[in-house]
């Protein structure tokens, strides 16, 4: 096992290197560049543009730019944003907690709801509960996030008023009331709409994997054996079936966790959430190479890391799986 993990970690190094080269090359292919904002400004002189290119290091050949970036990274320097002149890590550090706060809460709620729903749906296949839940989950996934988010705002922020204060029932954006003293209640009210949007959107995947996994397992011989032994239904489902049925969901969770760090761009945009998704989007718009590279490499590293963790967790859940 240890050897397996070590080998995977070693394999990750050339992989990350290849990813970084590919990403760096793609980034250079984006038309525009960090100075594009100046290009349509007739009041900025061409001489200023030339000088800025020099000062921002954009006149350095691309392969050297990459090499400089890589050597700096190996020294622990993630570079400096080309537009804000602040270290990339500071920019990420300001957004990451906000993103994790929203995405982890939504993720946990989605799991807490979807696992029981998936189990019940499978056990009572084709019951009315099964139909309603699979339909809701399916619709939640199909409704465009940006549209549904705006509808939520129109209903809970614009239309329905708080009966006590006369103000909007729920805030239409932001993480907390600006200027108010921090309180749990204030934080929670700001969390309700964006978290609901994320939960509703992510519910379906989890429900469907859980349901399918459970259905699969319920037909197995060992479940019939468990029934034959006279075990209670509850014990059969939760003790014997669940552990095996949850495997596909574990794979999905392993793939989703790195995504939690990237932020949910649409949700962040609709609810003015100062998170990673917006940081990344803005950095693309402004061709802020250092920040783009920072976010993408963090993301790549996390995906590789959680791929490995998922495989290891598999071994624990399914004794048949052994890595040699």
């Amino acid at each position: 096992m240890t050897r397996y993990i070590l080998r995977r970690l070693l394999q990750a190094i050339p992989l990350l290197l290849a990813i970084s080269i590919a990403v760096f090359a793609l980034m250079q292919a984006i038309p525009g560049g960090p100075l594009a904002a100046y290009e349509n400004n007739p009041n900025i002189m061409p001489e200023d543009l030339e000088r800025l290119k020099d000062e921002l290091g954009l006149n350095v050949p691309v392969h050297l730019q990459y090499f400089n970036w890589l050597t700096a990274l190996l020294r622990g320097d993630w570079g400096t944003s080309l537009v804000t002149q602040r270290p990339t890590l500071v920019e990420i550090g300001e957004r990451l907690p906000n993103t994790l706060y929203l995405s982890i809460i939504a993720f946990v709620i989605a799991l807490a709801i979807s696992i029981p729903i998936g189990i019940i749906s499978a056990v009572r296949q084709y019951s009315w509960f099964d139909h309603v839940m699979t339909t809701i989950a399916f619709m939640g996934h199909s409704i465009p996030v940006f549209w549904f988010g705006l509808i939520l705002i129109i209903i809970f922020n614009v239309t329905i008023k708080n009966p006590f204060t006369g103000g909007p029932l729920l805030p239409g954006g932001g993480m907390y009331t600006i200027g108010a003293t921090a309180s749990l209640e204030d934080r929670l009210t700001h969390l309700i709409l964006p978290a609901s949007l994320l939960v509703i959107h992510n519910l379906s995947g989890h429900v469907r994997y859980m349901r399918a996994g459970m259905l699969d397992v319920l037909l197995q011989d060992y479940i019939r054996t468990a029934h034959a032994k006279g075990l209670k239904e509850r014990a059969v489902i939760l003790k014997h079936a669940l552990k095996n049925a949850v495997l596909p969901l574990v794979t999905i969770i392993g793939l989703e966790i790195p995504g939690l760090f990237n932020g949910a761009l649409l949700t962040e945009v609709i609810f003015s959430w100062p998170g990673m998704g917006r940081l990344f989007f803005n950095s693309i718009e402004r061709a802020d190479y250092a920040v783009m590279m920072g976010v993408l490499m963090m993301s790549a590293t996390l995906i590789i890391a959680f791929g490995l963790i998922t495989d290891v967790v598999y071994a624990f859940l399914d004794p048949r799986i052994r890595f040699e």
């Binding site: 594009a36 002189m45 957004r95 619709m139 705002i153 932001g174 962040e268 917006r278």
Partner: protein, 586 residues
């Protein structure tokens, strides 16, 4: 399988109900039709308050406004974003402040320097500012001429990423004979001398060599009515009253919270629900939405420039050779006909709710406005006549074909490539209307759009407007009306023709006129603004007669605000907060 379908139908029905019910929250009394409050261009600097005399300004309160872009810095030397200036206006002052009518009023200076009051030397190369006395920075330090000197020196520091040195590089020295006099001596005359020092930063900001890492960039100290309390990236900037502000009892407001929202649609929702009081820069096609919001008003002050279609006067090639005329558009008659063929008012009425004015040409606004230049009318008959005269005869399918045209060999079809930035609905809709109008006079156009980073972009990004491989390209731009010289040279001088050697050139139309070049050269050494104005208008007139572009409509950005805000006057020549010290809440 019946049941799930039934459930699905029921749920869909439910959802549709919710969706239908939703967009009507603002049914309440339809607000009285809102005139776009355009401040009348009075000659004198307006007394900045619109409040009825009966209502005395109230002190205190918190105003929340929203901007929908993130400022990258609050150091005016490093940034150029419009949105940065929208925030800085509350914090920093400059020598002068641009007024709604295009004039300038003294801000940190005691008076506007002119030749008459001795502030401007006869050759225009020495400008003397008398500074207001007793002005303090928000940290309590006195404001003196040394800060003016520092602002210039910091801007001229090499290697730290200063965005623009235009004009400042023409300054030889800034002398401080005493703390309240600043003498700015230029190496060579710079026509935009009154534009410089629009923001002045304190010498306590830090060592210019380390400007990139100044704490000042995030928390600037200024002489303006407000100061920064906190800045949470992508979320908000809280501004609080500057207790050291020079005007007694002002500002009235305790706090201005600048919320940074991701896009304008989110801002519109927030102003509808009353979470914000002001919204920065909205396009006028959203006004039907605003009209439905009770308590929300908007104002669209006149602005510089606007939407236009540049026509390529040089042969469509990559790269274009400006000495070779465009086969079709090289003929001024064709260009004029195209300008006449477009129904600009229809675009304004159908796409912009009729809320903007047609754009007459360059220099439409402010002190240097050339009011003699009128918008090109919509005249189909005249357009057809001109095309006939130019040797373009209607073919079998109605599209014209050359027969004796000036440059095109006989049998050339009158077909033009029409590009604009993709993904901009307003532009794409306008494109459709323009093409209909073209078709009515026998001109065929086909769309070839690209992202704005390509259309507007650099030579390296293969921008068609730079390389010259386009026929028609539509976008918005403006020449700064406060001092148009730079903008006019960049857009119309022969020296600004884009080429392999001059990749930054912005003379998109490949317009070249020795008379215009000469006038612009003269204006660069003319210290008297009145005389410069005459020259600029001659330039604008020559440009107008040559039709290098079809001017469509004026830049039509509005500000939305809730009616509890008092004392604000919209100012198309300045940021929203240009008179924030006078704002108060009802």
């Amino acid at each position: 399988m019946r049941k799930p379908i039934l459930f699905l139908l029921a749920l869909v029905a439910l959802l549709v109900l919710v969706a239908c019910a939703a967009p009507e929250p603002t049914k309440a009394p339809v607000a009285a039709p809102k005139a776009t409050e355009v401040p009348k261009p009075t000659a004198a600097a307006p007394q900045p308050t619109t409040a009825p005399a009966a209502d005395a300004p109230k002190r205190g309160g918190k105003l929340t406004m929203a901007i929908w872009q993130s400022p990258t810095t609050l150091n005016p030397l490093l940034g150029t974003q419009t949105v940065m200036n929208e925030v800085l206006i509350y914090i920093l002052d400059g020598m002068l402040r641009d007024q709604p009518d295009g004039s300038r009023a003294p801000n940190l200076a005691k008076e506007v320097p002119t030749i008459q009051n001795g502030g401007v030397s006869a050759d225009g190369k020495t400008i003397t500012y008398k500074l207001k006395e007793g002005v303090l920075w928000s940290d309590g330090a006195p404001f003196t001429c040394e800060d003016v000197q520092f602002t210039w020196q910091a801007r001229m520091t090499p290697g730290v990423g200063v965005a623009s040195t235009a004009g400042f590089s023409d300054v030889e020295t800034v002398e401080c004979p005493n703390p309240t006099t600043a003498i700015i001596k230029y190496k060579n005359f710079y026509a935009g001398y009154l534009n410089l020092f629009g923001t002045i930063i304190p010498k306590s900001a830090g060592d210019p060599k380390n400007m990139k890492t100044w704490a000042y960039n995030r928390k600037p100290i200024g002489t303006g009515p407000f100061k920064v309390q906190e800045w949470i990236a992508d979320d908000h900037i809280t501004l609080v009253r500057n207790e050291n502000y020079r005007e007694k009892d002002k500002p009235y407001l305790d706090q201005i919270v600048v919320r940074i929202v991701p896009n304008v649609d989110v801002g519109l929702q927030l102003i509808a629900s009353g979470e914000i009081d002001m919204l920065w820069s909205i396009t006028l096609d959203t006004t039907p939405q605003l009209d439905k919001m009770p308590g929300v008003k908007y104002s669209a002050p006149p602005r510089d420039g606007g939407e236009r279609i540049f026509m390529n006067m040089a042969e469509n090639k990559d790269p274009a050779d400006p000495t070779k005329p465009h086969l079709i558009l090289g003929d001024v008659k064709v260009r004029q006909a195209l300008a006449l063929a477009i129904n600009k008012q229809r675009i304004i009425d159908q796409l912009l709710s009729g809320k903007v004015a047609p754009l007459p040409g360059e220099l439409n606004n402010g002190y240097f406005a050339c009011t003699d230049i009128k918008p090109v009318p919509y005249d189909v008959a005249q357009a057809k006549k001109l095309l006939d005269e130019a040797g373009w005869i209607a073919g079998a399918d109605g599209i014209r074909v050359s027969k004796g045209a000036k440059y095109a060999p006989d049998g050339t079809r009158l077909r033009l490539k029409y590009s604009t930035t993709s993904g901009n609905k307003l532009r794409e809709d306008a494109q459709t209307l323009v093409m209909q109008d073209f078709k009515a006079v026998g001109v065929e156009a086909y769309v070839e759009n690209a992202p704005s980073s390509v259309v507007i972009g650099t030579w390296e990004a293969n921008s068609p407007r730079r390389h010259g491989n386009f026929d028609l390209v539509e976008y918005s731009t403006s020449v700064d009306s406060l001092e148009p010289i730079g903008g006019l040279i960049n857009t119309f001088a022969t020296s600004s023709l884009p080429s392999e050697k001059n990749k930054g050139g912005q003379n998109v139309s490949r317009f070249s006129d020795p008379k215009v070049d000469e006038l612009l050269k003269q204006a660069q050494t003319e210290p008297d603004p009145a005389k410069r104005k005459t020259m600029y208008c001659q330039v604008a007139q020559s440009v107008h007669n040559a039709y290098p572009a079809i001017y469509l409509y004026q830049a039509g950005n509005a500000y939305a605000y809730r009616d509890r805000l008092q004392g604000w006057i919209a100012n198309g020549n300045n940021s929203m907060g240009w008179n924030a010290q006078n704002w108060w809440l009802k």
